[in-house]
Symmetry: C2
Subunit: 198 residues, 2 copies
DNA sequence: GGATTGTTTCAATTTTTCCTGAAAATTGGC
DNA sequence: GCCAATTTTCAGGAAAAATTGAAACAATCC
């Protein structure tokens, strides 16, 4: 179990993480850079990363910046050294929260906005019978909107700091589960309008 | 608000859903086919879909099969008609559960298996001091494994049928939240070993 | 303030993924 | 069992995404 073994183990982790990333719409390299920073636990500079992953400077720079934007990697400076170093968030739950926060913001929110927009421009004039086809079209859009609304509520409370967020999210989920089928869980004062709850 | 308006509204939904899909590692077309089936609510045949989305027969066939594999679209036959028709799951939560189930199975499970494999081949000989570097490497892997273990537990209970699943998932989440910081929530008998819980 | 070290940007290229269309296989009706 | 309608497969081509590398830019030191 020497340094070489650890290095190989790290490389395997990097590969596995990179593969997972690409299944989730994240560029393989970006996921690999993150994996490397996480698994080494050390702050690394651009050159370290380029060498270790055999990627170009441009690619490393882009990936690092994206990771910093996502909030799961941070820059670090050292006195007497002009290089920038990068360090990955080491708390897995904090990392997960950052990812959820970011993906909701980038993907779910715009989709929800689009859904509202679509519904509002098709809902038909007030007082006029929409006809069965439009009615069920609107119903489907509404159900989806409701779903995303709930999802956003759960995610918002989850994303708030520390374990508190997890418990808040659990509460809302429990409430939603209750509302969907069967009696409410006891001891829950969470608002069904999940956006405001917690 | 005529048929043409509904059609346009559907098209906009299809486009929005397709875009979201591609951000999540699902081919745009596959997401669009699903969107079309969901938003029309009607069973459609391959030709309907080809024409509406302007895609090739091969593409339509592949996308439909994938959707069926995912469990969010089902085949439908009609007497005296050799065509196959396809109908999308209309319950948004059921759809979400199917997606979670499938993605866990395809991506999280293999990753977790890989993590175990990596850890077990690097953990060092029993009784031999691993040294600080290997120790913290192993700790990081373990934390990740624990995280995925928990995630799997939450997802497994969630994925079980109906609102029950949601509540079960909420319970586990609440427990995890409690364990991570602060006191346990009351009224929770969920096993911390989430895999077996529920 | 100029030299040096380090970072970012982006057009060109490579790689990957997706899609097409026609051929092969399958299915249902008779 | 045969035929025609329908579906599936897959090699090749098209489109999209990721990556490189070099030039522009920025920061730091002396």
């Amino acid at each position: 179990m020497g340094k070489a073994d650890i290095r190989e183990s790290q490389d395997r982790f990097v590969a596995a993480w990179g593969q997972m990333g690409s299944a989730w719409g994240i560029s393989r390299t970006m996921a690999e850079v993150h994996a490397l920073l996480y698994i080494t636990g050390q702050p690394l500079c651009t050159d370290d990363i380029m060498e270790r992953l055999q990627i170009s400077r441009g690619n490393a720079s882009m990936s690092l910046r994206a990771l910093v934007d996502w909030g799961i990697v941070e820059r670090e400076h050292r006195r007497g050294d002009r290089k920038e170093y990068f360090r990955a968030e080491q708390d897995v739950w904090a990392m997960f929260r950052a990812i959820v926060r970011e993906r909701m913001k980038r993907e779910a929110d715009p989709l929800r906005a689009a859904l509202y927009e679509i519904r509002d421009s098709t809902i038909g004039r007030a007082g006029v019978d929409p006809g069965p086809e439009l009615a069920s079209h609107n119903r489907r859009l509404d159900e989806l909107i409701r779903f995303f609304h709930t999802l956003e509520g759960v995610s918002n409370s989850f994303v708030s700091p520390a374990g508190r967020g997890l418990q808040a999210a659990a509460k809302i989920l429990g409430y939603v589960g209750g509302a969907l089928s069967g009696p409410k869980p006891e001891n829950t004062e969470a608002d069904p309008d999940t956006k405001e709850a917690i």
